[in-house]
Amino acid sequence: MTSHRLPVQPGELIDRDDLVDFRWNGVEHGGFAGDTIASALAAGGVEVFSRSFKYRRPRGILTADFHDPNLFVQVGDEPNVRAGHRRLAPGMNVTAQGTWPSLEFDARAANRIVGRFLSPGFYYKTFISPASLRSTYQRILRRFGAGGKIDPATPPAHAGKRFAHPDVLVAGGGPAGMAAALAASHRGARVMLVEENHRLGGHLLYGGPDAAPPLAELCAQIEADDAIEVLTDSVVSGRYDHNWVGVVERHGGEEHLVKARAKCLVVAAGKIERPFVFAGNDLPGVMLSGAVSRLINLYSVAPGTRVVVATANESGDAAIADLERAGVEVAEVADLRRSSSQLVRAIGKGKLEAVELSGGRKVEADLLVTAVGWTTPTSLLNMAGDRPVYDPAAARFLPGDLPQDVLAAGGIVGDGPVESIVEHGRFVGFEAGRRALTTRAAWQRLTPRAEPSDEVAAESTDIPELPAAGHPELFAGPTDGFVDFSEDVKGSDVAMAVAEGYDSMELAKRYTTATMGPIQGKLGGVNAVAVHAAAAAATIEATGTTSWRPPYAPITLGALAGVDEDPVRYSPMHDWHVANGATPIVAGQWIRPDHYGDPSREVLNTRSNVGIIDASPLGKIDLRGRDVTKLLDFVYTNRWESLRVGAVRYGVMCAEDGVVFDDGVTARLEADRYYMTTTSGGAGRVWNWLDEWLQTSFPTWDVRTTAVTDGYAAMNVAGPRSRELLERVASEVDLSAESFAYMNGRVATVAGVTDCIILRIGFTGELSYEVHVPAGYGLHVWQSLLDAGSDLGIAPFGLEAQRIMRLEKGHFLVGQDTDGLTKAHTAGVGGLIKVDKADFSGKPELLWEGESGAPRRLVALQPVDGSVVPPEASQIVDSATEVSRTIGRVTSSRMSPTLGRSICLAIVDTPYGEGGATLTVRLPEGRDIAATVLDHHVHLDPEGERLRG
């Protein structure tokens, strides 16, 4: 293969002393450090880089930068790498993507013949009927996918994020962005400057010898400025409310998200050169002027040998100068600024061979360069609420009205020589700095912890106009060509959409998929609008652009996901559980022992000897003040004023809609000090709720709430021998049944640890004590209890055994046996609802539910065949009627090791819930079983003799 590498060019980015070997479709290639994948391949004579999405047409270099729609390749197991942007690295294994059987011969190119299948709206029209063929269509479509391959075995990459707080964030590191960053920094602002390419400079980088001195000066100043953080090979992906700005830092294939809160955003995104719509505009060998300048000036690659240039602007003229300097034969220049001059079509089979100009004149060439105007990347402005305005004189969209915290600078606004662009950037940066510092000063004033702020000059700077230069409106030639290269959408497709009634651009976009590919209309967006306008006999102004949404450029899912943010909570005894064979379960955020091998054995041991469970996740709230009783009376449905010091009471909390919200016990430890426990999952919710009532409705009450869940390791010691065990380790407390009765609480010393709280309560139905130990001594007490109870048969039990035992006792679990519609009467705690209290949360609803009767009720249910355990959520049906009707569902269901039979809780329509009734439970597999309703909730020891003993 001949080398297309030119002699040394003045501004080239390649290092000719640093050779880089890589592979392209299995063949060894060479390039230089500083090359992109595409420039190295082009230097090696590669002309075809990909096959197009629908028609599988061969495609070559179009723009030679990040936005080139034809340069998507696979690198190793990384798909969709942009070869015009990604730098060459040693050993890269680069392959063309989605081609079959090879890039040179793609069998599916035959579908040019069946192109009618791929007409606009083909998703909607072609593959809908007959329904019997849909799966066939799916298979075919999947083979058509143009994307690369991912290896499912690749381990997930979690890329860390970071937060940033720049005063001014500049999107775009061309001359305007660099000047803006410098001016903002001179004003005292902290600046983040984000550039898509690997180097700052924008179009100056490939602007030839004249652009070098101003570029060097700007770079030197930026380099010397510590207040400017420069992120190259990075992109501002989106602007969200209140200038929350996403920046993707790319490090080769690894991406990191920066979440920046910018006080002022300067958009200096420049201009993107747009292609021209004409027949053959996608042939390899047809390039935009910018591609030619990049290839020659940055990478010293000759883009062709004999060239026709169709130019309407100075970018095309510059490309001609570059081509002449590179020794490429300029066969013809068609100056499209003159109306007599026309570009008609590109001719060639698989690559450019000739160009047809006005009057049918054909010129042989292997390179056609077009320079017909610009698309303005107004994406970020659009996300900030701006509607860009079309300027026919400049033949492009320009920024409209921007919010105060967003400014636009440089080429996105207007045109001019480098000095004018820099000058504009400087003014914009200066004003951005002022606005940002004003905000910073305000935020410092509003932030008590911050340093006092300096006064900021309020006077705004008038930013001089940067007028957009006149440009002929050149979008499409006399022949039909591609409007969207990513999606293979032609001008005629857009026109057909209009003919079919898609007269709104937003609809036509979705129907044709124009501008919806990976390039998102950055190149051809205006062309699509222009072609649509022409077909609809409307103006471009009236047609308008489509909305731009984040992200500006694709982001890897790994960067978006970041690291796993869900923190896990560990009990003080966690390491003991791990060491002792616990099977963990994550409940809420807590990691807990589900069991230590055999939950049934854990139940039986607890019921016959003594068991111990880590109950640390239990919610715990310290309540202090003269008015705590008032608060308890308000948040619980029952009464609290009679609770003695040393006593414990159970209560149910309901929200204002009467629905059960949480439950638990509260102990009165001192006259004005209470200790509330909540469900594990409800701990935070209940604390917030208490504070809400206190702050919003009862601000004069003397109550202080402190969440102390994490402050106490809680362990429930349960079973007939639990008192005997506790007596061995507890001191300064009389545990005898007479002085420490059921539903009492004491502060005591346990295993030498002072300030422990012991509550005699019984979720398991056994004689049991909940021991709350200051967390830093939790493991010590846990171990001491196990040691002291070894001769009593003590064994730990897990969450599953506890769930079984509470079900044997018929205790409901909020959120398991109740749901978002279960009011307190339905849950069967009517006796705890004291509607004669003046007020409490949810009182009106509960009063009315009590009067009208609950429509459903929670019942204990036992399958007649005790060996069948109906899965939870099994439906309960009334099959007496012709069509069986759902009348309830099983909410909890287990095999009881104590009773040797299955036991359930269920919610059923009230008329079906009478004790003794037989109901039909429909198992998921469709089989019906009979089950009997008990006349109370309790399956085991309904008199509670075990508990109170």
Partner: protein, 87 residues
Amino acid sequence: MLVIVCPHCGPRNSNEFSFLGERSSRPAVATTTPDEWRRYLYTKDNAAGSQLERWFHVSGCRRFLDVERDTVTNEIRSVRDVAEDAR
């Protein structure tokens, strides 16, 4: 991600707060009717424009706040502690 300027903590990201909905006032429990009570529970203005909302700075100062926010532009016009509002 909005910025909410907490009167106690200064500007903070909105994910530090929990949103509790439009402000509503609780009817007198002794005299309320099902209609009135359920309006309080379920009926929202859902204004397009300025709206008075309740937020809770749950991961910050743990104070409940009254926030005036424009639901169209997300401009936040005022943030006050409920205690200040009660005065």
